[in-house]
Amino acid sequence: MSSDRFLAHTAIGDFLEGLVQTGYTVYCPQKEPGVRQSVIFAPWQKGLPISLEKATVAPKHLVLPQSEVLFRYSKHKESAEPAKQSLTLDANEIFTPTLLFASRPCDARGFAILDRPFLQGLFRDPYYARRREALCVVSLTCPSGCATCFCHWTGAGPSSPEGSDILMTEIAEGFVLQGITDKGKELLLASKLPEAGEKSQEATKARKAAWQSLSPVQDLSTAPQKLAEIFADQAFWSQATQACLACGACTYLCPTCYCFNITDESLDGENEQGVRLRSWDTCMAKQFTEEASGHNPRPDKAQRMRNRISHKFSSYPENWGSFSCSGCGRCVTHCPVGLDIREIVLKAIHAKTAQQNEKETS
């Protein structure tokens, strides 16, 4: 039996309310007015309007919060014997079932990219794992491409199911919801939504149309090797990054950047206590690689940009066989000085290596 279900435009509220009733915290894109309109994934409550636009900030905070408490520590002692104290640690173990509604395939693909190092590497990150397990991703097929996104260059597309539990595609009166994973199928089967039936074909048509709207694809297959070759080409990287402000907008908006910092922060109370925090970090910041000695292996923004790009298009692919970029284009859209990762990667692919240069000059 197909798990495809139909969700009428008018039924979205009831559908989500049903999920909330079953214990999900539902995150939806919500429009935030401001000097620049932004769309943010925020917890949804009955009555709140939902936007179906692409979010400004990728939803990775659902699995990797901007900062999270790993554990609390607390020292205890008695007035009578203050020199003697005991230490208790209290790990954070509260993870609630979460449903992400109307993310885009590029957002969902971000989860797949994060899953590899966090779940499949040498160490399985328990915090990430628990959050990821508790997460159900419902993605919305993009109706078309946009000026800055390029998912199809990175091996995906406007309806790629990777990372999603359910893929929803908009048709005339609503959406066809298609179960991708068992988790997604079960959720659909358990729902009161009508079966999609014929409408599934309409959805297939819509997805095809979306793919057809895309600009011509660029071949990035040589990128891992080329980037490795020009790794030491300081001139290339300096030239590419001279406008970079070394802020963290690109990395924090990115669905796939997962670098973090761990710090202890004291909390005041009668006794000594505090928390160990894991918080987002950005490789674009000088402090990212600053060592306790004061030495910094990546003192210049050029080296830091090289790291970011090489990680996405060279070292991650070497380790995991896929780019760590889902082509969402947020870093392009929001870079204050318009640095374009597409341009840098393409330039790298077409750059002459040092050896080639040598040959030519000789």
């Binding site: 007015p33 401001g34 943010i40 070394a246 925090l277």
Partner: protein, 482 residues
């Protein structure tokens, strides 16, 4: 430690060691009874009190903060309290824009002999704080997001540089280029609407030069990093003020700089334009006049009135170009001072304190601490040493809470007091559209009120007002407890 008993409130005092702490001692020796709420932190001088300490206390749960130093002219260190007076007055006037009742902060002067006065100060201040009651906690205040909307009042034109003028400029740069390491300008970015910085090092680079209302990046941001190189830069009024400010602060050297100046009537607010355009794939055929912007979007002709998309920063532009240009191009006569409040500030002005705090609370939920605001600011010269991220001094926790984010915004704003040249890059580059320029615009308003209309970056010879003092302040009337 137990929370304060319900009849006491959390009041923090910063007292200078020499006068006010001694005054509090004198009051104690005289057994001058006082309310018990106040806790005193002893500092060497009121000049040591960084306004950020006061905000740290207020954001972290203090219901009131009192700073007391030696009477003006009586500072143990000569001039510390003169600086304190300016900084604390700016702080006091800054608080309301954050949604903090300014009555929760006070500063005064008590000498070591004035035990009675100290008693009066403590009693009065404590009474005042009790009258206000416990302070609302930023993290607990009701977010006010959906109410956040304003309409752009601006009707001014935007800049258009004629092709002839651009050619003149290019020629002048070409002439100078051999003696320069590079010249900073703008070029077309990912599409016709988006301009990005251009580092001109060759004639070839020069052909890419673009100088119109889409060029929003404040290139001055790059100058301190290029210290030691001979650099040319294209400036308009706002960039010129940034140059002046950096010169005042000695962070760039005039000798290493060649300034090419262009007139400007206003710049386009690209985020709002993008919002109006919606999702698109292709932009073609852009024509920009002072009043209209025409372009083809995915094959469809669209026309916009530029006045509807003028940047809010242009609303407070002092107009006149500071006397800094080595070479000027075009007609500057159209540049007039604009005194309109930026719409985001006018909006905040229309809110009450509670709403303002709720407003910022909602904003901070969106802030991702990417620091694009800071890193694009030409005046944020601390660069990698920002105290928002340092572990020593440890001003901020790495926790991404609304409170910590707000404190970062406060650090940024307060560090700009008397220095912000109003280029608006902070806000223009915020990915989530936080109206943080309002904080700077408000501070600029305060500085102008307090220091005879001072505007940062207008006079290369001026000293930033918070880095100097005058013995008698014309516009600061210290609160007394007589």
């Amino acid at each position: 430690m137990p929370a304060l008993a319900n009849n006491e409130l959390r009041i923090v005092g910063f007292l200078c060691n020499w006068c006010s702490y001694g005054g509090a001692d004198t009051a104690g020796v005289a057994r001058a009874s006082q309310p018990t709420d106040l806790r005193i932190i002893r500092v060497p001088c009121s000049g040591r009190v960084d306004p950020l300490f006061v905000l740290k206390a207020l954001l972290n749960g203090a219901d009131g903060v009192l700073v007391s130093g030696c009477h003006p002219r009586d500072c143990h260190y000569g001039t510390g309290n003169f600086y304190a007076r300016r900084r604390l007055e700016v702080l006091k006037r800054f608080l309301p824009i954050l949604g903090i009742d300014p009555a929760r902060f006070s500063y005064t002067w008590v000498s070591a002999s004035e035990g009675q006065r100290w008693q009066k100060v403590v009693s009065r201040f404590t009474e005042e704080i009790h009258a206000l009651g416990p302070a609302p906690r930023f993290e607990a205040v009701e977010p006010l997001a959906k109410a956040c909307s304003w309409t752009q009042e601006s009707k001014g034109p935007v800049s258009v540089i004629s092709p002839e003028l651009l050619e003149q400029l290019k020629k002048a740069i070409a002439d100078k280029l051999p003696e320069l390491d590079c010249v900073l300008g703008w070029q077309e970015g990912r599409d016709l609407l988006h301009s990005v910085p251009l580092f001109i090092r060759s004639e070839d680079d020069l052909t890419k030069l673009r100088c119109d209302a889409t060029c929003h990046n404040n290139l001055v941001r790059y100058l301190p990093d290029l210290k030691g190189q001979k650099v040319g830069i294209i400036v308009r009024s706002c960039e010129a003020r940034s140059v002046v400010q950096l010169l005042q602060e000695g962070l760039i050297s005039r000798e290493e700089l060649v300034v090419f100046a262009l007139p400007c009537q206003g710049l386009l607010d690209l985020p709002r334009l993008e919002e109006a355009l919606g999702r698109y794939q292709r932009l073609e055929d852009l024509t920009l006049t002072e009043t209209t912007l025409r372009l083809r979007v995915d094959g469809q002709e669209r026309v916009f009135q530029t006045a509807d998309f003028r940047q809010s920063r242009c609303e407070q532009c002092p107009g006149e170009l500071p006397a800094i240009a080595d070479q000027s191009f075009g007609d500057f006569s159209g540049q007039t001072a604009s005194q309109t409040l930026p719409p985001e500030l006018a909006f905040l002005d229309s809110l009450n304190l509670q709403e303002r705090m709720g407003f910022w609370r909602a904003c901070m939920e969106r802030c991702i601490l990417c620091h694009a605001c800071r890193n694009s600011c030409p005046m944020c010269v601390c660069r990698d040493q920002c105290i928002a991220e340092s572990r020593e001094p440890h001003w901020q926790s790495a926790e991404a809470s609304v409170k910590e984010k707000f404190f970062f915004q406060i650090i940024h704003a307060l560090h700009l007091a008397g220095r912000c040249t109003g280029c608006g890059e902070c806000q223009a580059n915020c990915p989530v559209g936080l109206p943080i320029f309002a904080l700077r615009a408000h501070l600029n308003r305060i500085v102008s009120e307090l220091f005879d209309g001072y505007q940062a970056g207008c006079d290369p010879k001026a000293v930033p007002p918070l880095l100097t003092y005058s013995q008698e302040e014309a516009h600061i009337h210290e609160r007394s407890w007589e």
